[in-house]
Amino acid sequence: MSYALSLLIALPLLGAPLVYAATRVNRRLGIYASLALSAVVLLVAGYVFWQVYAAAASNSLAPGQYMLQEKYSWISFSNFGLDYFLGADGLSSPLLLVSALLTVLVVVGSRRLIDHHEAEYYSLIFMFEGAIMGVFTSLNLILFYLFWEIVLIPMFFFIGVWGGPRRKYAALKFIIFTFAGSTIMLLGFLYVYLGMIGTPGVSFNIPDLAGKIPVALQYLPLIASFIGFAVKLPLVPFHTWLPDAHVEAPSPISVLLAGVLLKMGGYGFLRISIGLFPNASAQYAWVFLVLGLFSMFYGAAAAILQRDLKKMIAFTSINHMGFVLFGAYATLVSGNLLGIQGAIFQMFTHALAVGSLFMLSGYIQHQAGTREIPLLKGLRTSMPRTAAILVLGSAAAMGLPPFSSFLAEFMVIAAGISASAFTAISILVPVLTAGYFLWMVKRTVLSPAEGEHEAHDMGWSDVAAFAVYLVPLVILIIASYLILTPALPVAQFLRGLA
């Protein structure tokens, strides 16, 4: 039995108090300790990713099969049992990798942007990372829910303690919205379990339940889990917490919010909404397709209207995460596997592309003193390196070909076209996306500079950090098989259930 997945969860959670102690002793020591810890976790995540990829590449990963499984009995009495059950497949391994990578980059990016309560800050980052790893690897519904909720606690403090002027309001709104959504999701899980309690071999384990839940028991939990995941994704109209949370959160935390936390929603839709309630999902797939489409258009339209650079990027997340839901359900309708593969790919590329933009918005505010798009003028001359990164990051986010986000969106749209003539209008979404990004770039980068700006451009070390966000995206357009090969059995499995 392998302990890699437990290690992924335990290293950050147990390391958090050490990071706290180290930072209390000495600030630099704390940051180095955080870097070292996050790098080690990244190595383990890379190992997990490679294991899953290697198995998929050699065709030894059957649809619905999980690698690196760990299973222990956690609670059991008379007619109730819970297992500590972990596993990874082509859906979770890219998310594990990108979460670990973003954690490293967030630690690097925080050293200049966070200047108080640093010990608490860095230790909470690792509490967050450990919980996220748990969400993406849990194969038991209750364990999944447990990690899902633990994620909220550090995020509540991130927004409320290190956030902007309206941080307290945003923190309370965030925690109440997401907690309400997830408790309803939990109720759906309980409903299934109690409904099946007489069935032999019933448990909360996802592999035991997949394909075995009677259709009559699928509808209510589908709605319940939909509410939990739609709040996280977020899907319009469950999205109102997101702009507030993003605007108030410090930029490194926005990276975690957009890059990692939103992925919990997409992961939940694929793993649970489709994976456990496939018949009900297939029956109402058009509802999800329409909601996904609406989110894509709404996010894009709302982004055009924003003056705050960060809020604009927040709305692009709604736009991009709509692709995930849309692609997943397009596969259910059309049987075209590109939808689910594209959705998984989209989650990976969105994390890096939007992560870089959020981090950049933090730098711009730190250096230029504002994030208002109309006030940011002439970045090309005043901050040339920053401007270049902004252009590249925007290109990555809008899905311009050298970046693999192009491929991901292309796959999702292809599945959308094969689903129905109506859903083919998804092809218009990238036009809107390109529109608002180009307009933003025109106003901030290409406009003439006004007056004397004492803005400091970013140093080459920061440029290198941003390269870490963007280079993988370029590599992945060539080596897309790294993500798509392991994603294929997942897509086949989910399509086969419906």
């Binding site: 609670i75 009495f77 309370l172 408790t183």
Partner: protein, 487 residues
């Protein structure tokens, strides 16, 4: 050979009777507290050993048909003793006056009453221990001799007397109908011969126990009494004597199904009665808690809301006795009683400490507490998150079992209501956490956090987190106790 339970009872009785004599020793103000703490700790260990050793009714020969030492009683005895012990230890930092031997003696009487109540198998024994538990708390509630404290004490005493009268009336009806005060005989008599009077007696039991369990509509004394009483005593009321109401209800009420058979009306069943009480109690508790401006009142209303969650297990049990869901529900109720005693107990003790050090109980006092009293603030945070049911704290597991027990079937709406209530309650818990860590306080000066309080906080927080991560031992034990009730 004398058994552990008898020894524990004799110890506590002796302590209760002899502690006031320590007033004769001048200049040893701290002694009575230490003595009582040692006695209670010894009783805790003795009863713990007794419970783990698998007690049988014959192991307490003098108990006769009055006391029935089973696992269920053991769990409640340990919970109430544990809370009393915590209150006693924290009181070292509080009660420094000359009359403190009396204070500790009254605590000992209450503890003895609660232990006897946990094991009672006869309605008369139950009533006697009920009074032994209650009467000292009337005095304790007025112990700080302020106007507010006196008012709380009087109000509490009057309501308490009324609830005792209601219970006594129910007992007399039960005796008249069945010719016995043995609980098992009364229950089988009620069920086999369901007359209208049996239904009335059942409802009277619900009302009488409901006062202590803080169930709406029998809750109105709770916020005033908790606010007026010394906050350490509020801890005792919320975390210990309230639990005594639950053990009485579990022993007496759960097996009775008369209401349905009396009226032949499928709506008027015990399960429906409990379901409505649960819904009203948790909703009203949470909504009222949100609007409170003082910490003790907020905790009082949150305590009412938690009683509503506990009732969900009763619903599952009386809906389908003997089913898998019934065992899950009762396990959830008992487990939640344990968790609530720890979480609400430590929250009240922390509030007591804030009141003692800052002389304020309004919520404004909690602004910036994270800097001023970091250990207290952390304790409150853990307790609040646990009360809201955030995993992996222990409160999560008991709520999970409670909601699971009714998640599918006729009472699915109750699970939904419970879950929405949990989410709603996080609104005010997170609001306090926000005050402690995100708002600016009136000063940032460190305030002393006394030694004994910190020790109790550390143990309680350790238990809340520890049981949350490794619930198997506790849940396994609780579920076997619940299964024995489910029969």
């Amino acid at each position: 050979m004398i058994d552990y339970l008898t020894l524990a009872i004799v110890l506590m009785g002796a302590a209760a009777l002899l502690l006031p004599l320590l007033q004769l020793l001048k200049g040893r103000a701290a002694l009575p507290g230490y003595v009582l703490a040692v006695v209670l700790a010894a009783a805790f260990v003795l009863i713990g050993a007794f419970t783990l050793s698998g007690p049988s009714p014959s192991s307490v020969p003098w108990g006769g048909s009055l006391l029935h030492p089973d696992q269920l009683g053991g769990i409640f005895a340990l919970v109430t003793l544990g809370v009393t012990l915590a209150v006693t230890i924290v009181s070292f930092d509080f009660e420094k006056g000359p009359s403190n031997p009396v204070y500790y003696s009254l605590l000992a009487f209450t503890a003895l009453g609660m232990v006897l109540l946990a094991y009672s198998q006869d309605l008369l024994m139950l009533f006697v221990s009920w009074e032994l538990m209650s009467v000292p708390t009337y005095v304790l509630a007025g112990f700080s001799k302020t106007r507010q404290s006196n008012e709380a004490s009087v109000k509490y005493a009057i309501i308490g007397a009324m609830s005792s009268a209601v219970i006594l009336y129910a007992i007399s009806l039960a005796y008249g109908l069945t010719g016995s005060t043995q609980i098992s005989t009364v229950v089988s008599g009620f069920t086999s011969n369901p007359t209208a009077l049996a239904g009335v007696a059942t409802l009277l039991f619900v009302a009488g126990f409901g006062f202590k369990m803080s169930i709406v509509p029998f809750h109105m004394w709770i916020p005033d009494a908790y606010e007026g009483a010394p906050t350490t005593i509020s801890t005792l009321l919320a975390a210990a004597t309230k639990k005594a109401g639950f053990i009485a209800a579990i022993r007496v009420l759960l097996a009775i199904t008369t209401l349905y058979t009396v009226t032949q009306n499928p709506v008027f069943t015990m399960a429906n009665v409990f379901a409505v009480l649960a819904l009203v109690t948790m909703t009203l508790g949470n909504v009222s808690a949100l609007t409170q401006k003082s910490m003790t009142r907020l905790l009082a209303y949150s305590s009412i809301a938690q009683a509503g969650y506990m009732l969900i297990g009763f619903v599952a049990f009386s809906n389908a006795p003997g089913s898998a869901a019934a065992t899950l529900g009762l396990t959830g109720t008992i487990f939640h009683v344990i968790n609530h005693a720890m979480m609400k107990g430590v929250a009240f003790l922390a509030a007591a400490l804030v009141l003692l050090q800052l002389k304020r109980a309004d919520l404004g006092a909690y602004n910036g507490l994270g800097k001023r009293m970091p250990l207290t603030a952390f304790t409150l945070t853990v307790a609040f998150l646990g009360l809201a049911g955030v995993p992996p704290l222990s409160g999560f597991w008991s709520k999970l079992l409670l909601f699971l027990s009714v998640a599918n079937g006729p009472y699915g709406w109750l699970a939904l209501a419970g879950i929405l209530n949990s989410a709603f309650s996080l609104g005010y818990y997170a609001w306090i956490i926000k005050r402690m860590y995100m708002d600016e306080g009136e000063s940032t000066e460190r305030v002393k956090e006394p030694f004994w309080s910190v020790i109790v906080f550390a143990i309680m927080v350790g238990l809340i987190i520890g049981i949350g991560l490794f619930p198997q031992q506790v849940v396994g034990f609780v579920s076997s106790a619940a299964a024995s009730v489910a029969g």
